[in-house]
Symmetry: C2
Subunit: 244 residues, 2 copies
C-alpha cells in the first residue's frame, strides 16, 4: 500500500466551521482532492480553495464513491466529506463496501459531531441518558420497520433523536411518529426541535409531545423526544442521567 493511496471519510459536523474536529480540519488541509455533495462542498470551498473537487448531487452517492475511490487509487490523497458524522447515515459504510474492489486504497474514517449531538447542545441536554437515533426517511427502509423502532424506543422509555422528520413527499410523517410514541408515552412529555443547527437561522423550540405532532418542521430540522423524566429547566430541555 502506497502512502498516498488514502481515502478519508470525514464527518464535518453541522456546518459551522469551528464545529469540525481538528483532525477533520487537518485531513482537509492536507488532502489533494475533496469529494462531496454540492451543498457541503460549497461550505468548504471558501476555506480550502486550492483543492480539486469531486461534486455530485444528492442521489448520485454511488457515483461519488466510485470517483473518490478512483481518485485515491490514482495516488491522490482524497477526502469524502459528510455532514455531521462520517458513519451515522453517512458515506463510510457504502465506501467501505465499494472499497473491496480497490484493495490498494486505505479507507480511514474520521468521526464528526452528528446532529443528535449538535442539536442536543442547542436544546441543553435532551440525550443525557439512553437514547435511540431514528430516521423517518422511508426511501431505503420500510415504514413498518421505522414504526417498530419508534414503538420500541417509546415502550422502553428511551429518549430519541429523530432525523429526516419531514420532506415534501412525507409531510405527515412526524405526526404519525408522534401518534405511535403517544401509545406508550404521555402527551405532555418534553420534546424539542432545532432548525439549521450551526448555520444561519439556527432556532429551537421546546414543546410537548402533543404539540410536536402539529409542529412545522422541514428537512433541516432535528427532532428530540424526551423520556418520562425529561424536564424543562428554564428555556432548556434536560434528560437527567439517572432515575434516583
Amino acid at each position: 500500500m502506497k502512502e498516498n493511496n488514502k481515502l478519508y471519510v470525514v464527518g464535518i459536523g453541522p456546518g459551522q466551521y469551528s464545529k469540525m474536529t481538528m483532525e477533520a480540519q487537518e485531513v482537509l488541509t492536507q488532502c489533494e482532492v475533496i469529494a462531496g455533495y454540492t451543498v457541503y462542498v460549497n461550505l468548504l470551498k471558501e476555506c480550502f480553495s486550492d483543492k480539486d473537487y469531486i461534486v455530485t448531487g444528492m442521489t448520485k452517492e454511488t457515483e461519488r464513491c466510485r470517483l473518490a475511490l478512483q481518485s485515491a487509487a490514482s495516488g491522490k490523497t482524497t477526502a469524502m466529506v459528510c455532514s455531521g458524522d462520517a458513519g451515522v447515515y453517512g458515506m463510510a459504510g457504502i465506501l467501505l463496501e465499494m472499497g473491496e474492489a480497490y484493495p490498494e486504497v486505505e479507507i480511514i474514517v474520521v468521526a464528526g459531531v452528528t446532529a443528535a449531538l449538535s442539536g442536543a447542545a442547542v436544546l441543553g441536554a435532551p440525550l443525557g441518558h439512553d437514547f435511540a437515533v431514528i430516521s423517518l426517511s422511508d426511501l431505503l427502509t420500510p415504514w413498518e420497520k421505522i414504526e417498530m423502532r419508534l414503538k420500541c424506543a417509546a415502550m422502553s422509555d428511551m429518549a430519541m433523536a429523530i432525523y429526516n422528520p419531514s420532506s415534501k413527499k412525507r409531510k405527515d410523517y412526524l405526526k404519525r411518529a408522534c401518534e405511535i410514541i403517544q401509545e406508550y408515552q404521555a402527551e405532555d412529555i418534553v420534546c424539542g426541535f432545532v432548525k439549521n443547527i450551526g448555520r444561519e437561522g439556527e432556532s429551537y423550540q421546546i414543546l410537548s409531545l402533543g404539540e410536536l405532532a402539529d409542529a412545522q418542521v422541514d428537512m433541516f430540522t432535528t427532532v428530540f423526544v424526551g423520556n418520562s423524566q425529561t424536564r424543562k429547566v428554564g428555556n432548556r430541555m434536560v434528560t437527567p442521567r439517572g432515575y434516583v
Copy 2:
C-alpha cells in the same frame, strides 16, 4: 448578565487532542478556569498550563458542578470538561439543573464526539442506520429498565452502542446483555468492541454476538452490536444505510 459570567460545558472527545472540535479548543484557550474529573484534566494540563483548575474525583460530580458555577458567578470564564460529548452521560444536564440557582451564569453546551461515534470510526461504520445508545451501568438506573431497553432495541433490529459494559462489581453484565439480545437476534450477527478509543493501546475486535458474550471487556471499552444486515467487510464492521 455580564460578559464573563459564562460557564461552558465542553465535550473533549475520546482523549486524543486532535479529536476535539475547534470550538472546544477555542473555549479552553480562552477560559480562565477548567473544571473536570482528575483523569481528563491531566490530559489537558499539558496543553493548557496557564489555567486555574478545579479537580474532583469520579463520585464528586455535584461538588464539581457547584465549584464551577461559583467560579463562573465570581466573574471567571469557566469550562467544565467531559470526555466524549458534553451531554451524552455527561455533565450538561446536572449543570443546567444546578444552574437554576445561579441565574447570573450563562451555561453554554459545546458538543463533542461521543464514544459511539469515535469507536464506530475505528470499527468502520457499525452505526450506519438507526441505533440505540445504552449504558449497562445500574448505579443510577434500575437493571430492569436497562434490560427492557436492550430487549426493545434488539426486537426492533436496531444496532447498538453499549457504554459501561463492565466494571469490577459488574463482571457478568455484558454476558447478561448478550443473552437478552439473543432472544431476538441470531447468535451470528456481527458485533465489535473498541478499547481505549483515541488513546495509547487502542485496539478493536469484530466478533459474533455469541462470542461477544464471553469477551473480556473493561470500563474503557465501548461495545457495538450490529443489526440483522450488518456485515463484516474485510476487517471492518459495516451496517448498511438501507434495507434494499
